[in-house]
């Protein structure tokens, strides 16, 4: 068996909690999000700086959120003023801090969050929203990013951008005329009417709350490096924490029996024969693919026995009644790439028009940590009767845990999730069912230990 090593601290931790045997908590790496606040006068280069930071890090888990999304929607009277450039957008009163706070708290808890879209043309929030899910680092930029103490409390780093007033005004005119449909006259009227007085009254005092004050924006390489290094260190801490948490979920896997919601395909002669052909390194690709498709079809058929059915009586052509069953609702599938894609042949044989979501989880080659890179799910996934979650192999269970967490975060109740895989080890199943005791698991072939992901390599031949 593979090592059951656990650091003493983690063991102590686990014993301290009585409920560990019942419900173990899994914390995805996007829980406890790090928030970087970037404040500064209008036109001081906040968003340029934020974008530069993100592009320098070049990671999918760092996102920018502009506080512009949180302008309060205007009523008819305020709207009229706004069109005459007489509404004060540069006062903290124009910002809906409560809504912002709610979003940040949700994100910090690892939840999927809808960000409002504000239209500068209409001075209203649009019906559509932008979804943010699973960032590890969020850069919040806005003139009042460091204004509300409740928001600041959630931040890990506070940056204040500084630029001289002439630069700010010229940048602002260029931006507002080009991107926000204003006139030059309007811009200047706003500048002296609101922006400048507010700058002195509300924006400048934020300097006192900043950890770093960055003059000259993106040209300031030293500041940029400091910020990116800080974020990189934060990400590494999160990764270490995530891997340690995964490790701690192993406890008890040797002694405890598997949950009754775990089905292992019956070891019939055909199944063993197919397993032999699939696992034999000397099997040619044509045979491998043929037998894998045949077996994955059986796994899907078995998985579907865990979905919910309702009673349904039909009349046969002989005019007789048959008291049968019918599916309670639509079943959709979510494929964990790349391994899960090997199940698509089998899936299409059973449900040809199955709606299929995909998520790409890859193990970091350096640390072994599973990482969520891509996510596309059916919009109404939470309303589907059941969701089949498919992956070719499960060894440590890290990516399966993450995949289930993603579904749960998207509103799919645990007891509607069926995780199906070709092969799995006891450790992985133990972890997965400890954290999510209500999901059903279907396994084609139990394997003794952690295995390299060889199935997808064989199936896709690369």
């Amino acid at each position: 068996m593979n090592n059951g090593y656990c650091s003493p601290a983690l063991v102590a931790d686990a014993h301290a909690t009585d409920t560990i045997a019942k419900r173990v908590h899994y914390s995805p790496p996007w829980a406890d999000l790090s928030i970087i606040g970037v404040a500064g006068s209008s036109g001081s280069g906040k968003s340029t700086l934020s974008h530069a930071i993100v592009s320098k890090l070049n990671l999918p888990w760092v996102v920018i959120m502009s506080m512009d999304s949180y302008y309060k929607p205007l009523d008819a009277e305020a709207s009229k003023k706004a069109f005459l450039n007489e509404y004060d957008f540069d006062s903290p009163d124009a910002i809906d801090f409560d809504a912002l706070l709610e979003t940040l708290r949700d994100l910090k808890a690892g939840k999927r969050t809808e960000i409002p879209v504000y239209s500068f043309e209409k001075h209203q929030r649009l019906k559509e929203t932008t979804t943010i899910y699973s960032p590890h680092v969020l850069v919040l930029e806005g003139i009042f990013a460091l204004y509300d103490p409740r928001v600041m409390e959630l931040m890990d780093m506070r940056i204040y951008c500084e630029a001289d007033a002439d630069t700010c005004l010229s940048r602002r005119i260029l931006r507002d005329v080009k991107d926000r449909g204003r006139t030059v006259d309007g811009c200047i009227k706003q500048w002296f009417g609101f922006v400048k007085p507010n700058y002195e009254k509300y924006v400048v005092p934020q300097r006192n709350h900043a950890d770093i004050i960055v003059p000259r924006g993106v040209e300031n390489r030293v500041a940029m490096t400091m910020v990116t290094q800080y974020i990189e260190r934060k990400l590494l801490e999160k990764s270490t924490h995530h891997r340690a948490a995964l490790k701690s979920l192993e406890i008890g896997f040797e002694s405890e029996t598997l949950s009754d919601r775990v089905t292992i395909l019956k070891e019939t002669p055909q199944l063993r024969g197919m397993n032999t052909l699939i696992q034999d390194i000397d099997t040619c690709s044509e045979d491998f693919i043929f037998y894998f498709d045949r077996l994955s079809c059986l796994i899907i058929e078995q998985a579907l026995n865990n979905v919910h059915f309702k009673e349904h009586t039909v009349e046969t052509p002989a005019g007789r009644q048959y008291r049968g069953l019918a599916a309670k609702g639509e079943v959709c599938a979510v494929i964990v790439l790349r391994g899960g894609a090997t199940f698509e042949g089998g899936l299409r044989r059973v449900i040809p028009d199955c709606r299929t979501g995909r998520l790409l989880i890859q193990s970091n080659t350096r640390t072994g940590e599973p990482e969520l890179h891509y996510l596309k799910l059916p919009n109404d996934i939470s309303k589907h009767e059941s969701v089949l979650l498919l992956d070719a192999q499960m060894s440590s269970g890290g990516s399966a845990l993450m995949a289930v967490q993603v579904l749960v975060d998207h509103g799919v109740p645990q007891d509607r999730i069926v995780f199906a895989t070709y092969s799995a080890g006891r450790v992985g199943i133990h972890r997965l069912t400890k954290v999510f005791p209500e999901i059903a698991v279907v396994v084609g072939n139990m394997v003794p230990d952690f295995q390299d992901r060889w199935v997808e390599k064989r199936y896709f031949r690369c």
Binding site: Q279, Y322, L325, A327, P448
Partner: protein, 248 residues
């Protein structure tokens, strides 16, 4: 062979269907396969999925495309179960992770024999599990004069005597054609124990007639129905399989 003389067949047994971890109240109730006491008859596990598939193909309102699709899914499950009765030998291999796996190797040559025309509808399911399998055909029709089944045509692999035979016919009513087909196979040298008769829906009468005549032929069925009506149709059944699959 004498057919059933009982007046009205008993309605089939009902039970809660679903995975073990759900309580009785969480599981819907459905009619399941009638129990039969013959050792050579294997019925597929009565899973909720199988019952739902059968419900779909029994429903007279199901369209042809759906009928074909759902019956194919059951046929594949039947073939998978049927293949489990073939011989295997131990075979150890090296896996991609460098371990050894004490596995099994399929042994013995097989072929399919479909009883025309409905049996031919099962050929795709067989091919889905066994590529390039040899398939023979037998045409048996009711003789207008004697109203007994009569063999009109057969085309079988020449070496059929050395093969295991998967005999295909979806509806197993009185068993008249199946009995004749087995007689044909036996006349070509296929021993009873190497014949597997795969069908979707069987009648208790058909199974009984067959089992009395052939002790060693194995029958694999998805569902044993209540019985036969006065015209010897399986009830509740699903109508004429060939018509629903090919022409309706």
């Amino acid at each position: 062979m004498a057919t059933a003389t009982e007046k009205r067949p008993e309605p089939g047994p009902t039970q809660c269907v679903g995975p073990d971890y759900r309580s009785e109240s969480q599981k819907p109730i459905a009619t399941v396969s009638t129990a039969v006491k013959f050792e050579n008859v294997v019925t597929l596990p009565q899973t909720p999925q199988l019952i739902a598939l059968l419900t779909m193909i029994r429903d007279k309102n199901t369209e042809r495309a759906d009928f074909i699709f759902y019956s194919n899914r059951i046929i594949r499950l039947l073939v998978e179960e049927g293949l489990n009765h073939l011989p295997v030998m131990e075979h150890t291999v090296t896996t991609p992770v460098g371990r050894t796996y004490a596995g099994l190797m399929f042994q013995g040559k097989i072929c399919g024999v479909s009883i025309m025309r409905a049996g031919e509808a099962m050929e795709q399911g067989l091919r889905d599990c066994c590529r390039s399998v040899r398939i023979g055909k037998i045409l048996i029709q009711r003789d207008e004069e004697t109203s007994k089944p009569k063999l009109f045509y057969d085309k079988l692999p020449e070496d059929i005597a050395e093969r295991w035979v998967l005999l295909l016919d979806p509806m197993f009513a009185t068993g008249g054609s199946a009995i004749m087909a087995v007689d044909v196979l036996k006349s070509r040298g296929v021993p009873e124990e190497r014949i597997l008769f795969l069908n979707l829906i069987a009648s208790p009468e058909g199974i009984k007639n067959f089992a009395i005549k052939f002790h060693k032929v194995r029958v694999v069925t998805a569902f044993v129905d209540q019985g036969l009506d006065e015209k010897n149709y399986i009830i509740p059944g699903l109508g004429d399989f060939g018509d629903r699959f090919y022409t309706m």
